[in-house]
């Protein structure tokens, strides 16, 4: 957890790029390769910290998503014209308002396979997000928040610092119930301890606020009225633009202007956000530097995403293997090689060389 770690933003960009790559394909072999890539990098680079365990949690969640999709496909069928029937479930009649949804009926290989491909894509995406969660240090991520979000950032830092204390308080108070002659186990004990813990926490918050005030929290720089007015105009105007753009995207008529207006509005709003940061005179102590390694890590992810997008445009058939008629998916060579680019962080990242003992399940 030293300061020499990689910029957390680089990990997020890398993971999200891998996730974007996953959305370009339903080829299970390519998706499996993406999962393997992220798993290898996580195993090689993740630090020995509590949040590093979240990768496993995300893998479990992804598995759950996949299973739910399969269960839906089995129970509800799909519009696909499948011919290979595995089993026919008894069909339940549904009322008219169900609008053509049926329960039960034929379960075909095509249906299941299609659901599995689709579910696997979402699962891969979740696993990539999980990789970012376990690789990037959340506290350092907060340090990179823009100045305009400083106050919110402090609130989150306080929450992150205080939550472990809170759990220790609960354990201590629960044990102390024994001293009053009350059982110290069970859900009742937990409930009764809740109130004193909350009261202690609130008292602590007042003391903390005093300390923060006396240490210079909330000092503001002199912002000229002109800048302040510009900030307001940019923010609100930008948000209006985003609203108009969204409306355009959602209506048939707005097809042409929707996206440009939305993006222009977003840019204005973000410029307002950046300008708003002028009001805090705050500086940063030892910020994470965006160095060459960060470029390499983020770049490798971006390359994977770009190459897969290109491949999807050039050769859609290879990246979207058909289910009707049934064909076995094949591994397209060039896209697969592109996915392997995502392994680069495992070799350039300065994170611990000794991989964590636990392998992701």
């Amino acid at each position: 957890m030293g300061n020499c770690g990689l910029h957390p933003g680089a990990w997020w960009l890398w993971s999200l790029a891998l996730g974007t790559a996953a959305t370009r394909t339903t080829n299970p072999l390519l998706l499996a390769l993406l999962i393997a890539t992220s798993a290898y990098v996580v195993a090689a680079c993740r630090p020995d910290t509590p949040w590093a365990r979240s990768y496993t949690a995300f893998v479990r969640l992804a598995l759950a998503v996949l299973l739910v999709r399969l269960a839906f496909a089995a129970a509800l069928g799909s519009p696909l014209p499948g011919t290979h029937v595995i089993v026919t479930l008894p069909e339940l009649p549904l009322p008219h308002w169900a609008q053509g949804i049926r329960l039960g009926g034929k379960v075909t290989v095509e249906t299941l396979l299609h659901a599995a491909y689709d579910g696997l894509r979402l699962a891969t995406l979740l696993i990539c997000v999980g990789a970012a969660n376990s690789l990037a240090n959340p506290a350092r991520l907060l340090k990179s928040l823009p100045g305009a979000l400083y106050e919110m950032g402090v609130a989150v830092v306080v929450a992150l610092t205080y939550a472990p204390n809170l759990i220790a308080d609960v354990q201590r108070l629960r044990a102390a119930r024994r001293l009053r002659g009350r059982p110290d186990r069970g859900i009742r004990g937990l409930l009764h301890v809740g109130l004193p813990v909350l009261e202690g926490a609130l008292e602590r918050s007042v003391a903390l606020a005093a300390a923060m005030d006396a240490r210079g929290y909330g000092r503001t720089a002199d912002v000229p009225p002109r800048v302040r007015r510009t900030t307001t105009a940019l923010t609100l105007g930008g948000l209006l633009g985003v609203c108009a753009g969204t409306y355009g995207l959602l209506t048939a008529e707005g097809g042409t202007y929707g996206l440009p207006v939305l993006l222009a509005g977003l840019t204005a709003a973000l410029a307002g956000l950046r300008l708003g940061g002028r009001r805090t005179p705050r500086t940063r102590y030892r910020p994470d530097r965006w160095d060459a390694r960060a470029w390499l890590v983020a770049g490798s992810g971006a390359a994977v995403a770009a190459l897969l997008a290109l491949a999807a445009a050039r050769d859609p058939a290879a990246l979207h293997p058909g289910v009707v008629p049934l064909v076995a998916p094949t591994l397209p060579l060039w896209p697969a090689a592109a996915v392997l680019l995502g392994l680069l962080p495992a070799f350039v990242s300065p994170a611990p060389r000794s991989p964590a003992p636990k392998e992701p399940s």
Partner: protein, 567 residues
């Protein structure tokens, strides 16, 4: 540097000002101690320097406070942050981030210092406070003394010219307090920082003070003077001053060294009367002696706290508690090993030692919060960790370090009713105890709004409602002023006289000297000394009370003993 001009503060909703007539000046580079009993408004005076009073707390400030030329009316606390550094009593509620280095930088970040300046000052401060080895550590894993030093360091990095400290050593053991005070002295001597500090434990800090501002009673104007002048009239004073007043020394000695130089006559006068010297030799016999009663004269208006109430007899064994070959291992750390201990009715034992020596673990084992890894513990004939809580409270009671942990209800009355129900006592038993121990606690007061001393008394009453023959107290004098401490001593003596066995884990050598029949020293989970108080503390430089140090080689423990002998 700090200038009070006829200041009074009235909080919102209060009819009377909390402090008034505050009118003094603290020159640059001085260490001024703010002394006085609990509840006289010391924290209010400190808060007025940093601007927290009244900007943060609300209320009305009459008069004017200026710090380094800045008027607190026009400067909010955040605008004074670069000239005043404030450290409160509980360092944990001072920290915003979770690692030492980030915490040191936090204040400078808020002030907008340049990154290279911040980097340099963090390194300087790490060296100045001896924190370099801890820079990457999570603050929650540090000891109390280390945390307090980090708290001081975190306000030092913006290079304030004034440091305001509210009881910086009250919660610390003697060694950690020394660490913190050494740092403060270095700041005053080397950097010319002005320090204004409130502290209950005068024996620790008085020798560092250039001057003392005394708030004698609530609403009274403060007195300012040299430590010797103020101590001659102060209602709060350390044992060395008490002895000096008894012997009529003038000017009053403030340190053990001063007092020793004057004490030749007194030693001569007391020659041959130190019966502790005699008692010390018969160590084993002494353990079963009835409680000393020669100290009782200290409380002339003495009355029985628990008339006609006898501790339920424990028929099976004459020992209240017995510990054999006890070892406790927690998180792969050996907290205790090879402990043998018997506690007999009416005996008061002080368990002493560094932080982390295993004092609290020993008490927790006796009350069943921690199960022994090997060895056996029996309390009143039962194994505490296997006894259901309802039965256990009738055999042993523990008042934890933080008495708040025992209190759940939102009024004193509800707390007492719950205690009666928990202990199976007659309704009203707990409330009667509270009224006896400390009159003046209102029924509808919120337990969290009570003062430290009142809260301790309430927790003690809650524990005593079940009338346990064995009473355990973990650091009972934390945050208590001298008056509250004296009340506690009288109370515990009376309980011991009725046959309650009492075990205290404490850093407070003066408390141990006044109260304990026997002292057990722990180090790294092992017993390194066990014997009568006089014997153990006299031979230990860090655990000897001030009177013992002054009158050595004679064996006196407390001023009360000396007073008695001279009478």
């Amino acid at each position: 540097m700090i200038r009070f001009e006829n200041v009074s503060v009235t909080y919102d909703g209060a009819t009377e000002p909390t402090v008034q007539g505050v009118d003094f000046e603290v020159p640059e580079g001085e260490l001024v101690l703010l002394a006085g009993p609990s509840g006289v408004g010391k924290s209010t005076v400190l808060g007025a320097v940093s601007g927290l009073v009244p900007h943060f707390t609300g209320g009305t400030l009459r008069g004017r406070v200026t710090v380094a030329g800045r008027d607190t009316r026009t400067h909010k606390p955040r605008e004074l942050a670069d000239v005043v550094g404030t450290v409160g009593q509980d360092p944990l509620s001072h920290f915003v981030t979770d690692t030492v280095e980030d915490e040191l930088a936090y204040g400078m970040e808020s002030l907008g210092l340049a990154p290279d300046v911040m980097r340099r000052r963090v390194e300087e401060t790490l060296d100045l406070l001896g924190l370099a080895g801890l820079r990457d550590r999570s603050i929650a894993t540090l000891s109390g003394g280390q945390q307090q030093r980090v708290a001081i360091g975190s306000v030092l990095t913006p290079h304030p010219r004034v440091l305001v400290l509210d009881e910086p050593t009250s919660a610390l053991d003697p060694a950690a307090a020394e660490e913190v005070l050494a740092v403060l002295q270095r700041l005053v001597h080397d950097l010319g920082t002005t320090v204004l500090m409130a502290e209950h434990r005068l024996e620790r800090v008085i020798q560092y003070a250039d001057r003392i501002a005394l708030l004698p009673s609530p609403g009274a104007a403060p007195l300012l003077g040299t430590p010797a002048e103020i101590m001659a009239v102060s209602p709060v004073y350390p044992p060395v001053v008490d002895l000096g007043r008894l012997a009529g020394w003038s000017p009053l000695p403030l340190t053990v060294r001063d007092a020793r130089r004057r004490a030749a006559d007194l030693r001569q006068q007391l020659e041959g009367r130190d019966d502790n010297a005699l008692k010390g030799r018969g160590a084993v016999v002494d353990l079963r002696l009835p409680p000393r009663d020669r100290d009782q004269s200290k409380t002339p208006t003495h009355r029985r706290w628990f008339p006609r109430r006898r501790t339920p007899a424990t028929p099976t064994t004459s020992h209240t508690a017995e510990v054999q070959a006890l070892a406790v291992t927690r998180d792969r750390v050996r907290a205790l090993r090879g402990i043998d201990l018997t506690v007999t009715p009416g005996e008061t034992i002080a368990v002493m030692g560094r932080n982390g020596a295993g004092k609290s673990t020993l008490l927790n084992t006796l009350v069943g919060l921690v199960a022994p890894t090997t060895g056996s513990v029996t309390v009143g004939g039962a194994e505490p960790h296997r006894t259901p809580p309802r039965d256990l409270v009738r055999r042993v009671g523990l008042v934890p370090q933080e008495p708040r942990d025992l209190l759940y209800a939102d009024t004193v009355a509800a707390e007492c009713a719950a205690a009666d129900a928990d202990a199976g006592a007659a309704p009203g038993a707990c409330r009667a105890l509270v009224s006896e121990l400390l009159p003046g606690i209102a029924d509808d007061a919120h337990p969290r709004d009570l003062s430290e001393g009142q809260r301790l008394t309430l927790a003690l009453a809650v524990v005593l409602t079940a009338r346990p023959p064995l009473l355990l107290l973990d650091e009972p004098t934390r945050g208590l002023d001298y008056a509250a401490k004296a009340r506690l001593v009288a109370l515990l003596r009376d309980l011991a006289a009725q046959g309650h066995a009492i075990v205290l884990a404490t850093h407070d050598v003066e408390l141990a000297a006044e109260l304990a029949h026997r002292v057990i020293l722990l180090a790294e989970g092992e017993v390194i000394a066990d014997g009568p108080t006089a014997e153990v503390v006299v031979s230990s430089p860090s655990f000897a009370p001030q009177v013992t140090k002054i009158l050595a080689p004679q064996r006196w423990l407390t001023v009360a003993e000396v007073r008695e002998a001279l009478a």
